[in-house]
Amino acid sequence: MQIQLIIRILGILLMIFSISMIPPFIVSILYADGGGYAFFIGFLISLSVGMMLFIPRRKITGELRARDGFLVVVLFWTVLSLFAALPLYLSNIPGFNLSSAVFEAFSGLTTTGATAIVGLDDLPHAVLFYRQQLQWLGGMGIIVLAVAILPMLGIGGMQLYRAETPGPVKDSKLTPKIAGTAKALWNIYLGLTIACALSYWWAGMGLFDAITHSFSTVAIGGFSTHDASIGWFDNPNIEIVCMIFMLISGINFSLHFVTVRSLSIEPYANDLEFRTYISMLLIITLVVLIVLLAHGDKGFSDSLRDAAFQTISLATTTGFTTENFSTWPIFLPALLIFASFVGGCAGSTAGGIKVIRFLLLFKQGAREIRKLIHPNAIFKIRIGHSVLSENIIEAVWGFFATYVALFFIFMFILMGDGLDQVTAFSAVAACMNNLGPGLGEVAVNYAGISDLSKWVLSIAMLFGRLEIFTLLVLFTPAYWRK
């Protein structure tokens, strides 16, 4: 364990992160909303702590080993989230305490989108902008950003990248150099964000709303600048734009990369995960539509609008709402919360267990059945034409089992803290899957739950974002043994 080296890197990253408090400060000057003070103080504190960590160790060099990567990533996410909470805590938001600020910061950076704030519409623009920006930074991963801009993270960068990237196969690089891969990912991400902001603006949003919502849409986050979320605009065009960009952001970014480079849409058509993802969304939308038509009092086009928007928003784990879906017939909210377990594709900004893992679990199940029929046959699991190694399939099983186990542990803690079963279940699901809105008491926001529950859910969000093992490995004694 190279503690000094790790602290040095942490210092650098914290200094870089402190810069993210400047834009909200500028926003507060532009809108003269008086919210800038907290951000300026937050910037100074983060910068000086980063410098205190870095400067005494600036001459330390060395290479990160595979196991150091986990610690750096986890430390980085926790430390950053805590520092990110600082300006929120200092901003004097009504009814806000330290736990709420930390919850909000974790929810932002992990792109969960669960909020503990009531009365968003009255907050200073600086705070609103900052929340959206947190989601945007967390979406593609701040470590990936750091790898892209800091050449010193070269070789160790791969360890960090692997610990942060979602999906079962983490070794795929888009370009030979890790920095090139990280840059390519951020360029696509940036391009999508700009396109999304322009589309929102065209669809009728104000400039501020267009930019801030593009941040949380492309990051599959779900924060909004209004209590009523996207529903506040009540504009079908905005909803369509939102759906399109949620859909795109839930796709594996390396597919986008290959498509941009080869200028053909063939990579999408050939990708099994992508096809499964789209089919799944279509089927769920259809089911939701049928149930809404059977039970609701709205016409076909309004029902379709609600069904499609809520399905895409929840199944991709974004968490925007246009309609309080928790009041729908109980079958639908339950279905949609379960859909968020599947989430988006690997290598996207979406949360959840990821489509590819479910695909593999399904194929593995089908293989067991075929084995009963042909006991001596050898069946390989394929994605497209390539055979997957048994290691990956075992790892997926392990991941799934641990995910479920952790889910229950968190749920029981919340129930022990006094939440009812529906609230506890949906809150843990919404946080671990980085979804956002839940059911019951947390259907609209998380302001009403206790401080303990907020801390537990913050940890659940981090488990979800780092795909469990990166975080869990730190809790094993073997990791710390010399």
């Binding site: 070789i155 960068g157 791969m158 070794d171 370009t175 030979p176 150099k177 890790i178 090139g180």
Partner: protein, 457 residues
């Protein structure tokens, strides 16, 4: 530069390590995912699992915009086909293939754009044989590398008590040998580099790199250590490609004995070698060594493909009285353990191979590159082009050229004449300039020095 390396074996991996540190985009292709995994874990490069000669694998590896393909899988045929595919389908500008089997190397016509489009052939066994041969011709040297077709040599020797110069300043060299021109490029004392000046005093156990015309090497070596008698009797252990090639290269001028364990192989090489005594047996068999008068042998060379066997048999031979031992070692972790012990010279095949490849990778017109001190240092033979206006070196005296830290110009070869570097020698166009770099991280700066400004064209 975008480089695709096919094969993640010894040579492929060493190349990847050397090149990945130098701002190149490297993609390594192999069918063994374990080898790739370990490369991926330690280096910043991309790996692809698959057969390197298959077009679709090459395409995945980025052959379309690659600058260079280096095929070093363990099959000559795959290497050749991969170059053909890269040429026919992807138009890769530079294609290098490793060819081991000398049967392919006899015909020059084979490798050209019309037939097998391999731009450069490297054959590691052959370069190792040449390398060892040069060491044998210069007893006492740790490393000998050629420049300008062998006109100039760079030699590494260890200074011992008994050498005339030991304990004196370098400037004394001139007084000892007024007619011989040489230049000391670097001195390594306890593993650390010292940039030599006239006042530098040579101590015993220093490792000294000097450059001189080939026929002066022996006299200069004598200044640094008690001159050794030339080798006469040589024993080689291992009858593989290297062992056999070495015996063939040496048998004219030396008395050579070769030990091979497999009787079949021993029979077949004895057919090919006329003046060598081929022995069937084990190189670490004490009785065999006694019977063959190991104590009278001048040099014992162990070149089997097992590092451990090489080391053990060399230790045994040394104990039994052989004058000098030389071993071939693939595992570079062992190399550092052994230098200066009862094994006199360690030869690592990767470095000779890497050296021959680096030449094609360096930018600018580079005629030769030699990787020294296990890859840390480098010697380059670069050709100066352009005029005083377009080149950073032409028309300047050596003293005026701003060299990167740790770099010295050691010699110049002008129209087949060797000129040992002095401050006031002015570099002309088409001169071959031989530079020595203590730290190869400045290689880029040296490359830039020799690149001609675009206005030249």
């Amino acid at each position: 530069m975008k480089i695709i390396i096919l094969g993640a074996g010894q040579v492929g991996a060493t190349l990847a390590i050397n090149l990945a540190g130098e701002d190149n985009d490297i993609t390594v292709v192999d069918i063994d995912h374990k080898k790739l995994r370990s490369l991926q874990d330690h280096l910043d490069l991309r790996t692809i699992i698959g057969y390197g000669s298959h077009p679709e694998i090459l395409e995945q590896a980025g052959a379309e915009d690659a600058d260079m393909l280096i095929a070093v899988t363990n099959s000559d045929e795959i290497n050749m086909i991969a170059c053909q595919v890269a040429y026919s389908i992807f138009k890769t500008p530079t294609k290098i293939a490793r060819i081991r089997n000398s049967a392919y190397l006899k015909y020059d016509k084979l490798f050209d754009a019309k037939n097998l489009p391999v731009d450069y052939v490297i054959s590691p066994e052959l370069s190792v044989v040449k390398y060892i041969k040069r060491l044998i011709e210069n007893p006492g040297a740790l490393q000998v590398v050629d420049f300008a077709d062998g006109l100039v040599q760079l030699v590494a020797v260890r200074a011992y008590y008994g050498g005339l110069l030991v304990g004196n300043a370098l400037s004394a060299l001139k007084d000892h040998m007024p007619n011989i021109e040489t230049r000391v490029a670097a001195v390594f004392r306890k593993g650390k580099a010292i940039l030599p000046t006239g006042d530098t005093v040579i101590e015993a156990d220093d490792e000294i790199f000097f450059i001189a015309a080939s026929h002066h090497i022996r006299q200069i070596t004598g200044e640094l250590q008690k001159l050794e008698n030339p080798y006469r009797r040589i024993m080689i252990v291992g009858g593989g490609n290297i062992g056999k090639g070495l015996a063939r290269a040496l048998e004219e001028n030396f008395e050579v004995k070769l030990i091979e364990t497999q009787s079949k192989r021993a029979l077949s090489i004895s057919d090919e070698l006329e003046n060598t005594i081929v022995l069937h047996g084990d190189g670490s068999n004490k009785e065999l060594l006694v019977d063959e008068n190991i104590d009278l042998m001048d040099l014992f060379i162990a070149v089997t493909n097992k590092d451990e066997a090489n080391i053990m048999s060399a230790l045994l031979a040394k104990k039994m009285g052989v004058r000098k031992t030389m071993v071939l070692i693939n595992n570079s972790a062992y190399t550092d353990l052994l230098h200066g012990e009862s094994i006199d010279i360690v030869v690592s095949p990767q470095h000779t191979t890497t050296s021959s490849l680096l030449r094609h990778i360096r930018r600018g017109d580079v005629a030769n590159v030699h990787s020294l001190r296990r890859g840390a240092a480098e010697a380059i033979e670069a050709v100066a082009h352009g005029t005083e206006d377009t080149s950073k070196v032409v028309g300047k005296a050596i003293g005026e050229i701003e060299l990167p830290p740790g770099t010295t110009i050691a010699a110049i070869v002008r129209e087949n004449k060797v000129i040992i570097a002095h401050h006031n020698i002015v570099i002309q166009t088409d001169d071959h300039v031989i530079l020595f770099m203590i730290d190869k991280k400045y290689v880029k700066d040296v490359e830039q020095l020799f690149q001609v400004d675009l206005s030249f064209f």
